[in-house]
């Protein structure tokens, strides 16, 4: 099996360390909290979330930002465990988008 896209220690081509930080958005704080809450309830383990991120499409892995990767892996694990389905998430999101307005 090829080296995982997450296994980046020592890979060449890295640039300078960008040290500007951003205050977390609401959705990031929510992602963090829901993730931790699921763990606290024993619904999923951190190891499962890591594995889900490792199994992602590699381009997606690099393109998504940190909390987007968390949300993607959370969704994958919740679907895998049959707690949620993609269809119901899609439906719920469509309902939200109707409420939020279109870009």
């Amino acid at each position: 099996m090829a080296r995982g896209h997450h296994d980046v220690g020592g890979l060449p081509g890295a640039g300078p360390i960008e040290t500007t930080e951003h205050a977390l958005s609401d959705w990031e704080i929510l992602a963090d909290a829901v993730n931790q809450a699921l763990g606290a309830r024993g619904i999923k383990r951190t190891d499962e979330m890591r594995r889900a991120r490792e199994e992602m499409d590699s381009d997606t892995y690099r393109d998504l930002n940190y909390y987007e990767r968390w949300i993607a892996s959370m969704e994958a694990i919740l679907i895998e465990k049959k707690i949620l389905t993609k269809e119901e998430i899609d439906r719920k999101l469509a309902a939200f988008e109707a409420k939020w307005g279109q870009p």
Binding site: P12, W27, I83
Partner: protein, 205 residues
């Protein structure tokens, strides 16, 4: 730089990215199905907000002034945290890495972003970045130089890659000429970045 819940960026939701929007749908479904509760979510938000690098600074300042406490901090870090009123119980295992004149430690998680969150709160963006995860292990001195720290060759640099359940905290070296400072003032010298090990503490106030 802090991410207090009272200072969040409220983007119009229709402008959020695909996954950013999806967390709201996931949250609502989980609540509807009783998988988690609103209280669960708020407890986690409060738990994170209560944790910050100030905790680490407090431990270090005490260790600097009290050699017996320093010994306890190194021998049993979770108990030493509890002594200072810092709840580190949810860390599985916790190791304190003591810097000396001839030794510096630096911590990274190359595989993801493991960090001593129960003590320090959320890691900074740069710690989670690919550039740091890639370079910390094969170019630690280059990384330190970017943070303003240049070390001679006779100082050993030890990079810890936290790949398992152990969480690492650096105990930085007390700056010279700080003998007159109070413990709270000493704590002000202990930056978050010195607890990760990419730089030394501030030399003075």
């Amino acid at each position: 730089m802090s991410s207090s819940s009272t200072e969040t960026h409220e983007h119009p939701k229709h402008e959020l990215s695909y996954y950013a929007k999806r967390i709201y749908a996931i949250r609502d479904l989980l609540l509807e199905k009783g998988v988690i509760t609103e209280k669960d979510i708020w407890c986690q938000i409060e738990y994170q907000e209560a944790r910050s690098p100030a905790n680490g600074a407090k431990l270090v300042a005490r260790a600097w002034v009290d050699p017996a406490y320093k010994a306890r901090l190194i021998a049993d870090p979770k108990a030493a945290c509890a002594e200072m009123g810092i709840d580190a119980t949810s860390i599985n295992e916790f190791v304190v890495l003591e810097n000396t004149e001839k030794l510096r430690h630096m911590v990274v998680c190359t595989l993801c972003s493991c960090y001593p969150r129960p003590i320090l709160g959320r890691p900074p963006d740069w710690y989670k970045s690919f550039n740091y995860r890639q370079r910390a292990v094969n170019d630690p001195r280059g990384v330190m130089r970017e943070f303003g720290l240049t070390l001679p060759d006779d100082v050993e640099v030890r990079v810890h890659d936290s790949t398992a359940d152990i969480r690492y905290l650096v105990l930085p070296l007390r700056p010279k000429g700080t003998e007159e400072l109070s413990e709270p003032d000493l704590a002000k010298l202990v930056t978050r970045d010195s607890l990760i090990g990419v730089m030394d503490p501030l030399p003075s106030l």
